[in-house]
Symmetry: D2
Subunit: 414 residues, 4 copies
């Protein structure tokens, strides 16, 4: 039988679980909680990123209380026998399943003081929340009718521990960005170390040491050289990822399970956030980092059972902003314009703008950088799989029919 090396009891908070098997910061001195052999198959249970803060209900009241400082609750670190700095750690995600005790997930636009609305946060300032129920491989939501799709389940985070030098480098460059921001804007530029709600695994048994490390341990919000919160939807069942090793044992961490997600995860709390169980196998490629030139970020090889969604209604976006101003080859802005067009299109069928935004964030939409050399415009595309709708979403001569009425994600307090 495959052994489960880390268990998540969803009726308890992660920081209260014995064993100190969870953490939410990166630091080279967080000790591994367990060691695995190469080629050993093992299971790891994971909380949702928030450690269980979302209620499965029909109002947004709870979002006002969420504390993002606890994110992301990660399982590990896991030491891999034989891994040393300079190696590559190959992590094979043999399977990923939703946690049996949480057969549902959530996608949310958060209140501004709780994190806000993500990519289009300037336009979506009120909280909204959609609960998704899992029907086997499918997700559907009572808050967004008319759609059902296969979950491309994946961990938002697969990461190795940083070295001391790398951690210092992260803190240097992110501090510089914060410090270069206009007054009062720095905190929205990056997430610097934060002692509040920091969980450092076994270190927490030594409060003095923990207090010191909390001030320098890296937040898990951004993806970095060690992998981390890349939020890649295609890192799904059967995938292999190649991560750099910076410390002895590699110290692998996993978490932030997404039952599904659209490219970009635009709503911030934007995937279908849930708890889950990952089956893993690891291998060490000795001296792989220099042999393969791996340094900026990981490589991966998606698995063979992504859903067969091959036909996408696709929106083009250019880098001309809403005021008609031309920008220079800005793919971020071009993506924004594609998302805006998709939202407007969906509202023609009766969806509210919040429903459309949450849907595009959670459904396996595909976004490609189509062209990046045709100055001054970049072209970015956003494709929605047409098969996920109960009705025909393609344009035709009759015009759109309002298919969805009288239902919306709750956008005001109860």
């Amino acid at each position: 039988m495959v052994r489960t090396i880390i268990k998540a009891d969803l009726s308890k908070k992660p920081q209260e679980m014995p064993g100190h098997n969870f953490h939410n910061r990166y630091h080279p001195d967080i000790p591994a909680v367990v060691e695995v052999k190469q080629d050993e198959v093992f299971k790891v249970e994971c909380y949702d990123w928030s450690g269980g803060q979302c209620k499965n209900d029909d109002c947004v009241d709870d979002t006002y209380e969420w504390d993002l400082s606890i994110g992301h609750v990660l399982s590990g670190p896991i030491a891999v026998e034989g891994a040393e700095p300079g190696d590559i750690l190959e992590v094979e995600l043999l399977d990923i399943q939703a946690h049996p005790d949480m057969p549902w997930g959530f996608t949310a636009i958060l209140p501004e003081h709780r994190g806000g609305g993500g990519f289009l946060g300037d336009l979506f300032k009120k909280p909204a929340k959609a609960i998704w129920d899992f029907e086997g491989i499918y997700a559907k939501s009572r808050h967004i009718p008319g759609v059902r799709f296969v979950g491309v389940i994946h961990p938002g985070i697969v990461a190795t521990a940083p070295s001391r030098e790398l951690l210092d480098e992260w803190n240097r460059r992110e501090s510089e960005l914060v410090n270069s921001a206009p007054d009062g804007k720095g905190s929205s530029m990056a997430c610097l170390p934060l002692p509040h709600l920091a969980i450092l695994g076994k270190v927490d048994k030594d409060p003095a040491k923990a207090e010191k490390m909390q001030k320098e341990a890296a937040r898990t919000i951004p993806p970095r050289e060690n992998g981390g919160n890349a939020d890649i939807k295609n890192l799904s069942r059967g995938s292999r990822i190649w991560l750099p090793v910076y410390v002895k044992g590699a110290n692998l961490s996993l978490g932030d399970i997404h039952f599904c997600e659209g490219d970009g995860e635009i709503a911030l709390c934007g995937a279908i956030e849930t708890a889950g169980i990952i089956t893993v196998k690891t291998k060490v490629l000795k001296n792989g980092m220099s042999m393969y030139g791996l340094k900026r970020a990981p490589m991966f090889f998606p698995g063979p059972i992504d859903p067969y969604y091959s036909r996408y209604l696709t929106f083009e976006g250019l880098c001309v902003d809403e005021d008609g101003k031309q920008h220079f080859v800005d793919t971020t802005l071009a993506f924004r314009q594609a998302v805006l067009s998709a939202i407007e299109y969906l509202t023609k069928f009766g969806y509210t703008r919040e429903q459309a935004y949450l849907f595009l964030s959670a459904c396996p939409v595909e976004s490609h950088i189509a062209s990046i050399v045709d100055i001054p415009n970049a072209c970015v595309t956003l494709g929605i799989p047409t098969e996920v709708f109960d009705f025909n979403i393609l344009p035709n001569g009759d015009g759109p029919k309002v298919m969805v009425k009288g239902s919306h994600p709750p956008a005001v307090p109860k």
Copy 2:
């Protein structure tokens, strides 16, 4: 029999062809050269974007003579019966084939004064050129050994004519961008109207009128609201695209055939540039623009026979630049880092950096915006289909083997 409404004789220059069936600028007053009925199936022949300037040889000498002012040579305009401003024009690309008289294509890094090296132009300053030979559905190059792939053939440009108002708007916003640039940098920010080598179709029969229009007609370099040079590789055989109609008849133009292209078309002259023949059918959705909210850019629905490349070795890129500076959620920079990692990886197998760059530009690589809300990093991925290599390109414990030697795209004058 399907009628060919526009013919391209590759032994002649497009501007010398009788009928004035070609143009290379957008202007509402360029008259249609032919009218088609809705649901009529017709064929359109297209030159390569340059009108035949590239030599099928093994040196880069010709690139020093290319004149980009002639780009893109487009076939049309084609009036569609019944199309009026405010409608949507549905264009179905029933088939796309390479031109029988040009069974080859080219991908190039141009000399700086001739356009330069595209997305990584700061790093690729010397010209290089790869000639691709078509073997049926496949492309292979004597300048980039070890790879062969199925062409995802598509027109870089499918466009309707702009209205007077839209043309003015383009000139306003692009002029503002140019004028806001530092001294001497404006010309690299956008391509403003240029009389040199302008072709205006039937207008050219009236030199006085042509001279006036050349000064305001829009260049075809960037994609815009009317479609245009979106360079979307998935707009391949069997696709449908929905374009806004701004003038009576819609005045459809087609051209810039790519036998294949990677997402981004990074090398500028970066697809496998060639001539071709498109089989087309059109339909008008009356008042479609307001009914479906189409205004920023077109929508499309890819066809059902893209190649079955489903497994991609994928590189992640973050928005930390080569100097270690942290940028804020910059997907363009993140894409750059993914491309740099892919180039470095390919060189481990023996490819030169130029070969790697041209390959990534021409092969159907896929680039996704993976995450855009994980401040301060964006994560963009670049996936290379593993099946296109003659050898195993995946990392393994043995390290990369140098599979490719002693061959490279010519990077110096003869």
Copy 3:
């Protein structure tokens, strides 16, 4: 939470489980053990077909003791609210998972007196057994090295209960076939009712009634109008199947979980046989049988996440037998010849004939009827997904390399 309506405790025999939730014969008078509502999502646990007779070991001794009379152990019957004769029952297989207590499966050639070797039983007369270990979504076997593949998990059996009239019809036509066989051959032509080891669910609480019903209840070996043992590998996760309803409540039964299987399931005990858990939703289409003309056998719609195996090394088979005799459009014989060619091919790489046969039976190979009108030959194809091998299985100028040595499924008693 989704309720589990039938539980399988693998440490017990199915006939010993309280609740009488299992049965292994079809009869209209076996009462339903539970009722579900339409659109209700529920889970059903299933034993392997044999109720746990296979040992996870490295010898074939146990196969001499297996008793096929117990097959197939089915979960149910399950009554669906509102279903009546003449309706169609739509069964959606929302998810299918291997049972957590049986993370392995088996494929076997049985001893002749225990069932024999299936489709090529005349050539494979000695028992052989391969144990497959599940690594997440993948199956691999210590008895068949060099291959690993994604399991196309499915229930071999999804069935409704027959009416009295249909049961009588089955017994009539199958008896006729047995009776028309030459002396002593009848028992190999069909499996007529058999009291030995019959399990009739709740009926077993009334031994007198059970004894009577055992003599007429239909065996579950063949697929019939009610679905049953169709062994369709593509009836996997996310599929919908439309079954005829013959009795009030439809009385749905499920079982015979296959972690994977090749088209044909050629080795008889030929899939990767295992236990599992199915998540189900049902719907009733009133009067569907006549509305849609459903009578001969079910229809189904495969799910959207079959593996991406799109490239198959494919063998053609014709209906000329091994003695060179020409048969007339016989697809069964043509399939046999394709299988023989595939086995011979695989032995060139070092596999034993038994390994090849078990592999082709368990791996998701695809068999198509290519042509059936080109008298006198039929052409049937057998395609093996090339990606499942650790090595290159395609023919090339160098000839096959022996990649697999010194390992084989145990083919003799310990």
Copy 4:
């Protein structure tokens, strides 16, 4: 430029073309008409199988005049440099295109004395004919409304020449089959050598020799060890096929272009029959036949651009005949039952039985042998891609709507 080694002028009959580049019988002594080098890319033009006998009209009158003795008109033989008996000839079908002078095709049920109705010929005794118009990659028919599909274009026939010994063997075994048939039935069992309308290429320049060879040259109707009329729809663009070599030069023949076809090609003249152009490359694997055990029939590897039809409404068929008689594991009968169920289903939507039969024969339906060991029933499936219909073809609670009316393939003489 790729050279076209054999040209087909569709305005002429194949036997009237200079060069004697066509033949319609197999015989080792038909000399090659051209030689190619290994790895050379070349094009071959092909007539439709009948050499142009079908009229593009709306009645069946012409079918009464067709003479099947001329089938199949093949292009070649083509000698490959270096190929010798015992080698394998690898033939790569780099591209396949419909002939520009025949942008349409035909599917027909023939009058009984002209060949009949194929697989269900006992039920379809009156002629019917559907003309398909090609719209780029798509086929649609004015005789079968409501459907349009991507053509899986392929040559029905790719064959090498037989040796003297092999030819004798074919004649022996097929004569035996004919002779073993009941009185008067032999001619429907196989197609023995037939001088009438035989074309033997360059041999025809020597009438005496031709007359002798016509009596022993094999018909091209059935597939055999040398490949031949396997009618495999997936042998489409980009495929590789490995053929045995029996004579010096291999003497490759190609023809019987199908714009599309369903598994089985059930209606006899059942694909979308047309003319076409194939781009080919060959390679010789020395001594490949023994190295790889190739003897019964060819192997192949389908290309990478089959259409993305991944969702199929699938009918199961069992080997119980229409009279309720149980047969023993008869996949041919099981396939028949699946076809009958599909036809009945389609008539519920308004199609005539003839339309349904022709559609199932021409559309890329998929037929799998699902199970072959569940005595006494075999289970064969027939899947129809749902995307090819203009309307929703899946069953639902509302019952089928009659979508197609007042149109049918002409089934009576004008």
